[in-house]
């Protein structure tokens, strides 16, 4: 075991982690621990754009953006945070441009903007061009630009280090962050990083679904590490299903395709979104479009022999426009489906895309221990966190924005805290939990296999807690997850070695997914209403009287060692917008 000491430790090198690192490195001695090489992070997969009311191509302002964010999140958004997001968006985009990001340009040389779902002029009047973009690889360009600037600033990375535990020490009755424990992939060695502040920026958790736009590595490690140490997880029942994933594979085809004029059609060729969202049509918010697609499929208007998908039609768009604005996604269709999007529509279905919930934080990125108390020295930003700016449903282009705005804020806040604070003592035997976990898996002779449990988990999640949920389906998922968690205790791996033992890490990642799937299902069961991404067929309406509140889920360990999820609730911050019915 090795012990390292840094002022600030950042867990993750995606957009949020690197944006934080650029600030923290300037202010404090900083280490970035990342299980992937920074440029492999899934921020690089983001396509469509990043929202900011620059008003470069038409009238716009940040107040409209705030409203759209609140409405898009079905009023579960904390409005003070949404206001910061929309206001600071403008500088966040300009910062990136100054760092070198090659945005697409208007004829007069400013940053070009395009339409995106749910973003509107003057509180819902008509779609507005607010998304700043670089072709359909905006996330790639953000990730590259931030990495380039990390190289420039000399940020210190520990690549292929998996953070597996959060260390908390109680000082005078106050729970404080003491550091993290990481596993080095190349050697199998365990490292303790003592740090005055820790920022989680470890991304999403989409891999508990089968059809998903998320990378294999998005297994919610940060959420799980904090949850296991008694910290709450907020609004985990809210997961976004993006309308246009490649049929059966889940690979994302950006909403920008519809922003450029693409149309969704059922088997009769009908533009069905006109029925469900007369104003915004194909650009209504994602939860609305995903439900509309499944309604078409359920009512027998799906395409293909099994009627299990619909079409994204780009054939009416000029090939030059597709080449210039959507080169990557048209290539995905060619590569993975053998389809030519110039002439043929693309089969799509909703795909599990984005975790609105996560580690609760305030607007400085400080992690909450309960509804009001912060954990000194602990921060979170990006998809792992829940500020909450996305509420029950995130608008497209607001996450690339979130990682930049709150990545920067948490980087500054964590470093400033670190330089004025002392180290907190490490708990006794700090690596013990990770050592035990690793040894148990390496020595286990159990009969269960990681791949099989993961497959069953993904199947039950897709079948029971996706776009449509009912008491019955969620209960089925809860029971299945409990069974899988039981079987997981008996899991064994084949690779017993130290070097690059990805067999071992997949097993650990599966443990994280199982914990988080349980939290999600239990939170969803208790929310007897429909709001944003959480749709209950047995409670199809939003219920502001009982559920205008954030879910806070805690892990409880009984005297007999049994684990349960305890739910509590936290009020929503409302400032200027009163909840209204959401129409697009």
């Amino acid at each position: 075991m090795k012990i390292h000491k840094y002022d600030t430790v950042i867990v993750g090198a995606g957009g949020a982690g690197m944006r934080a690192a650029i600030e923290a490195t300037k202010r404090s001695r900083t280490a970035v621990l990342t299980k992937l090489y920074p440029t492999r992070s899934h921020t690089g997969a983001a396509q469509g754009g990043m929202a900011a009311a620059l008003a470069n191509v038409e009238e716009d302002n940040w107040e409209w953006h705030t409203f759209d964010t609140v409405k898009g999140g079905d009023y579960l958004v904390d409005q003070d945070a949404a206001e910061i997001l929309a206001k600071e968006a403008i500088d966040a985009v300009l910062d990136l441009e100054k760092m070198g990001l090659p945005f697409n340009r208007t004829p007069n040389g400013t940053i070009d903007q395009r339409r995106f779902g749910g973003h509107s002029r003057n509180h819902g009047e008509a779609p507005v061009r607010r998304s700043c973009y670089a072709a359909d690889r905006t996330g790639h360009m953000i990730l590259q630009t931030l990495y380039q600037n990390c190289v420039k600033e000399g940020v210190e990375f520990f690549n292929e280090f998996y953070v597996l535990d959060q260390l908390i020490t109680e000082v005078d009755g106050v729970k404080m962050s003491a550091g993290v424990v990481a596993y080095e992939l190349a050697t199998g060695e365990i490292h303790v990083f003592q740090a005055k502040s820790v920022i989680y920026a470890s991304g999403g958790t989409g891999k508990f679904f089968k059809v998903t736009s998320n990378a294999h590595t998005l297994t919610g490690d940060g959420q799980a590490a904090c949850y296991r140490r008694g910290l709450p997880l907020e609004d985990m029942e809210f997961f976004q299903f993006h309308p246009t994933g490649i049929w059966r594979m889940g690979i994302l085809l950006t909403e920008g395709a519809r922003g450029e004029g693409g149309i969704l059609r059922n088997k009769d060729g009908e533009r069905f979104m006109e029925k469900y969202a007369p104003v915004m049509k194909d650009l209504a918010s994602r939860d609305v479009v995903s439900r509309s697609i499944y309604t078409e499929i359920r009512e027998g208007r799906g395409c293909g022999p099994e009627g299990d998908h619909v079409y994204l039609d780009l054939t009416h768009l000029p090939p030059e426009q597709l080449d210039a604005k959507l080169p990557d996604i048209t290539e995905f269709a060619r590569t993975y489906l053998g389809i030519e999007p110039y002439t043929d529509p693309i089969p799509i279905q909703p795909t599990a895309h984005y975790a609105m919930g996560g580690i609760p934080t305030n607007v400085e990125g400080e992690v909450l221990l309960d509804n009001t108390t912060v954990v000194p020295g602990l921060y979170a930003a990006g998809e792992v966190a829940c500020v909450s700016v996305h509420g029950a449903n995130r608008l497209g282009t607001n996450s690339l924005l979130d990682i930049n705005v709150f990545g920067k804020r948490s980087g500054i806040a964590a470093a400033e805290y670190a330089v004025k604070s002392d180290y907190v003592d490490l708990p006794e035997d700090p690596a013990s939990l990770v050592v035990d976990q690793v040894e148990r898996l390496r020595n286990s002779t159990g009969s269960e296999r990681v791949a099989e449990i993961r497959r069953e988990l993904q199947e039950t999640m897709d079948a029971n807690v996706m776009v449509f949920r009912t008491e019955q389906t969620i209960k089925t998922a809860v029971e299945k997850i409990a069974e899988l968690r039981e079987r997981y205790r008996n899991v064994s791996i084949q690779d017993k070695g130290k070097r690059f033992n990805t067999d071992l890490l997949e097993a650990i990642e599966l443990g994280n997914l199982l914990d988080l799937a349980e939290v999600m299902a239990v939170s969803a069961l208790a929310r007897k209403e429909s709001r944003g991404g959480h749709y209950r067929e047995d409670y199809p309406n939003r219920d502001d009287v009982n559920f205008m509140r954030h879910t806070m889920a805690y892990r409880e360990v009984g005297d007999d060692g049994s684990e349960t999820v305890r739910l509590d609730y936290k009020p929503v911050v409302q400032t200027r917008y009163q909840p209204m019915e959401r129409k697009y």
């Binding site: 440029t39 004829p107 293909g304 022999p305 389809i339």
Partner: protein, 252 residues
């Protein structure tokens, strides 16, 4: 649009898709042996699946010790460049049907970087070469309050080289790099190109000096392996040629 009928892809999917394919994989685990060996794995797979899906089937159902890097599974993160049937490709962007599944499919680590285990190589020298070319925007003078202006044409000038995902497929297909690990390699030059031809950048001269080095662009023998290997379709050789020309004319 007319009423969609069952299209080609769907008709194919309706029939039973599975075929038997042999994956012939170059295995190496220094914890067990200092020698690498070829190992065959026959698997059932739909030919429309990716080579990465095949590797997962092997790892998840047959042999958990098989080791490779991967993340996004759709050609965007650059984790899984490997030599498949003798050519550098991304396993997640190569469909079984496109590489003659009748014969065993050979899979081995990319060449020229030290193999650490199975398909995993040491990427450090590769990233070091990248860092050496100053891969970041350098500007002088005061920052503007708004964005720097750039015409659409000026933006287009370096569009191609902004697509790079640092997968190393190009560099590890280059015979010069195989013979002499000191050569910067195509990927580093691509990333220098991305800044040299960016109208906003003011360090073109410095980067050109770096690439004028004995291990720089002049090593390139224009074999086009890199361009063939690039999964992002970047015209790598052309980018290198443009850097060479800029070195001669000092115009960019």
């Amino acid at each position: 649009m007319a009423t969609p009928v069952m299209d080609k892809a769907e008709a194919e999917a309706a029939a039973s898709p599975y075929i038997t394919v042999t994956f012939r994989i170059r295995r190496f685990n220094p914890e067990l042996s200092e020698h690498a060996v070829w190992e065959d794995f026959p698997i059932e797979i739909d030919p429309k699946e990716r080579v990465l899906d095949g590797l997962h089937k092997i790892k998840w159902d047959l042999d958990g010790t098989l080791t490779f890097r991967r993340s996004c599974a759709h050609g965007i993160c650059g984790s899984d460049a490997m030599r498949i049937n003798g050519k550098n490709r991304l396993a997640c962007k190569t469909l079984i049907k496109d590489i003659n599944p009748e014969k065993p499919i050979t899979v081995e680590a990319i060449k020229g970087l030290t193999v650490l285990k199975d398909l995993v190589v040491d990427m450090e020298p590769f990233f070091q070469a990248y860092r050496d070319v100053m891969p970041f925007l350098v500007t002088k003078g005061n920052e503007p309050t708004r964005e720097r202006l750039q015409s659409a044409e000026a933006r287009e000038r370096f569009d191609d080289t902004t697509k790079c995902i640092l997968c190393a497929a190009c560099t590890t297909s280059c015979p010069v790099f195989w013979n002499d690990g000191q050569y910067f390699g195509p990927a580093a030059i691509v990333n220098a190109h991305r800044f040299i031809f960016d109208s906003r950048d003011e360090a073109g001269e410095q980067r050109l000096e770096i690439l004028n080095d004995k291990d720089g662009v002049w090593r390139c023998r224009t074999t086009f392996n890199c361009t063939d290997a690039c999964p992002r379709g970047i015209e790598v050789t052309k980018a290198i040629q443009e850097v060479k020309r800029a070195l001669i004319t000092r115009r960019f």
